[in-house]
Symmetry: C2
Subunit: 211 residues, 2 copies
């Protein structure tokens, strides 16, 4: 064992959390002391999700990130961000990216499908109605923590109706400011992400949307 | 140009359609004469989706496949299959795999997000309520053709309510038989796929489910 890059005594800073955002999930156990994760508050995991959103934005993509942690050990089991801009992939949102990553990492460890019932989903933006709210309900997360209900209508009702009772809104000002900026800069991708080309065309009917 | 492996005169057989199922989508234009695709009926594209389901089953995965074609040119723009068994990925169903593939291929051609409004989605099994029906509605496919409403409750109502008016059920006996066999052999994955570990646990309460 080479030793941890981030130890239990490392100060919780954006720089440290950003390194965690960038490190592939399967390598976290080799580089970050599990004790460090145990010191993190919910707002710190939300910050990691926001830094993943920033990573996506820096790549020309939609700034929405997701992080899934084991609710008991507080270790990250999956994380990711929207990839519509990077990969034209309208099925990969912040939440689905983190869910898929968790499955991939479990598989690397020789495990089967992940049981998400004892995990917490942190998502920077309120889960979209058309897929993420539904998928979150199928996963039956112990808790869903949302970082931004300012830039999109909250889907709390849909989540609760689907059995996700434990929902917390932990507004992250950086996540909100970042998504607001993106929606203004790339309204085309913003509308495609939320409703496909039909949504974009519907909006175009009443006012031009720059690409 | 080396010449097409499958020409306009190639007999439409399971062997030819299986080769198409296995060829990466971005290589189809180099190996299959576009005229061949123009001769294919809807049932032939559904057979390709079923052969993708068979491919998934042969890999130890869930046998559900999806194919998206351009409704005018009848060329395949995306295809894929469920990967829960292969990758522990509970977000990749037949439809989402095909949608993601279409985006990937468009990107290889230097294009942006795919406009699915002039495309047809062929899916072997009725779109799941929790994500695929919703995602199909967001994509606004010109038409959704379903190959099996025997092994799962039809989501036609949800699709119609979401704006997908043009739905056809084209029951494919091979797709139906294959999924039925799989659900019997791997009830655990079947339940996880449709409702997560909670669904599996709920079923276990009343009767044992073998893994």
């Amino acid at each position: 064992m080479t030793g941890f890059f981030i130890t239990k005594d490392t100060v919780v800073s954006d720089a440290a959390l950003n390194a965690i955002a960038y490190l592939p999930t399967e390598h976290l156990s080799k580089t970050v002391d599990p004790a460090f994760f145990r010191t993190l508050k919910d707002k710190d995991f939300m910050r990691i999700a926001t830094l993943l959103a920033q990573k996506s934005y820096d790549e020309g993509g939609c700034p929405i990130g997701g992080v899934v942690i084991d609710s008991k050990t507080r270790q990250i089991i999956g994380k990711g961000h929207n990839t519509l801009g990077q990969e034209n992939d309208s099925t990969t949102h912040g939440e689905t990216a983190a869910i898929r990553d968790a499955g991939r990492v479990a598989r690397l460890k020789g495990k089967g499908p992940v049981d998400f019932r004892k995990t917490i989903m942190f998502t920077t933006l309120t889960p979209c109605v058309v897929c993420c709210a539904q998928i979150n309900n199928r996963c039956h997360f112990e808790k869903v923590i949302i970082g931004d209900i300012t830039n999109a209508s909250s889907t709390e009702k849909i989540l609760r109706a689907g059995g996700t009772q434990n929902i917390e809104v932990l507004q992250d000002s950086k996540a909100i400011a970042l998504y607001k900026q993106y929606a203004k800069q790339r309204p085309d991708l913003h509308y495609i992400d939320w409703g496909g080309h039909k949504k974009l065309a519907d909006v175009q009917k009443t006012r031009p949307v720059k690409k």
